[in-house]
Assembly symmetry: C2
Homo-oligomer: 243 residues x 2
DNA sequence: CAGTGGTCTAGACCACATC
DNA sequence: ATGTGGTCTAGACCACTGG
């Protein structure tokens, strides 16, 4: 297979794209096994080694999960136990690895502000859902989240379904709406609590809070969630590894 | 090469360890090329493919840098241009990719507090250097850093050398003391500015600040730097990618 | 036991940088 | 032209899982 230098694209990259496309098209459901390397090799008419490179690069980006002796599986937010901390950077200061309880405090329809529209790549005024919740550790509020979602992708979103879902938010999005979050960017600021956030977080007005702005992306780098979190950092902190 | 299951360790892992050892021993200086894959293969008596796997895993962790057609180089903090942002997560809100100017505001010898000793894996009371500096964007202070270093590893540290070095702090540590930072953990809190930080950062007392605590590690996961940064987030923010 | 992913090898060829 | 890392192949064998 010869290609010109300007157009050069390794075979395994092309195979990767094809697998990615199949994932996006839902050919295999989250949590399911994809075909074995040998099957994929015959399907794409390349060697097993080339498939392996493609699959491993997808696994490196957490789109797939490989398990020796078992197979390769479509990554899912519904069974990531420890790895669920991937999108939850708030930890307790005492080091206890504990998941906060989520309490819904509001869900409303709204129209995208200019800024929200820009970040979500929709048009200003397009319908969105705005969801608010509080995360609590042992009954003590720690995070106040305001989550903005393009309504077009989350048809049928209701307060009841939201409150009823037992797992994580991204598990909810994945199972109920087929929206899979793959990666996110965050920007952090320090701000003072205003009256409302102070009330919901049960801290004095003016308390320094961590403001975490997140844009989360699905396949094709398409933004599908805008989130603003306000975190008290008395008992918790935001954790990050520089590698 | 047969091994028992309990002891199993892939060949490329062993090769990786040997290369890592050589790096730690300074067999090749930062910025220098290491031997080619073929040479390493013959040195370790394995195939080129096995060497490649070892080298690529080191490159993936930023200990080495591979350049097609040129060779594989020991990573250095002295010439990482864009990639220098790896350890500088503070960005301007307006998106301009600009490096802050560093201004030294103090260097003193001290004894490690119990907490510093724990984080740096030294004994309480062991000698340390405490270095303070301000980072400024266009003359406006943005970050106040307090950096604690085990004195044993930074012999000959002086205010003058510190102020004289033109590049980044980790470039300074690497060139002047042979201490190479490989990765770091950070914990973020939001706090209110006290009198002194308010003065140095030119903000009102009580202004919410981002408090960034960092422990940086060198080879063998040995901690060698403890850093506490206080950042105003009016014009800047802390940036992070969740992948 | 069969089937999966993981390792290791040997060899061919390609893209890139330099001389 | 030469040497570097990057890709691709084919095949052998190993480690892990589950029936």
């Amino acid at each position: 297979m010869k290609t010109l230098s300007a157009t050069f694209r390794p075979l395994y990259r092309q195979v990767r794209s094809m697998i990615e496309r199949a994932l996006e098209d839902g050919e295999w459901a989250p949590g399911e096994a994809i075909p074995s390397e040998i099957e994929l090799a015959s399907r794409f008419d390349v060697s097993q080694g080339t498939v392996r490179k493609a699959v491993q690069s997808l696994a490196a980006e957490n789109l797939l999960v490989r398990r020796q002796g078992k197979g390769t599986f479509v990554a899912t937010h519904t069974e990531e136990k420890a790895s669920n901390f991937r999108f939850l950077r708030i930890r307790r200061n005492d080091g206890r690895a504990e998941y906060p309880k989520s309490r819904l405090v509001g869900l409303r329809r709204a129209r995208a502000s200019a800024e929200a529209a820009r970040l979500l790549a929709v048009r200003t005024g397009d319908p969105v859902f705005v969801l608010r919740r509080v995360l609590e550790y042992g009954g003590v509020p720690a995070v106040l989240d305001e989550i903005t979602l393009p309504a077009a992708l989350f048809r049928g979103m209701t307060r009841e379904r939201c409150a009823a879902y037992p797992g994580s938010m991204y598990g909810f999005f994945e199972t109920e709406f087929g929206v899979r979050m793959l990666r996110a960017d965050e920007r952090l600021h320090a701000i003072a609590a205003d009256a409302e956030s102070a009330r919901l977080l049960q801290v004095p007005v003016g308390t320094p809070l961590l403001a975490v702005e997140r844009v989360a992306y699905t396949y094709g780098e398409r933004p599908v969630e805008l989130r603003r979190g306000l975190c008290t950092t008395r008992r918790e902190h935001y954790w990050n590894a520089l590698t």
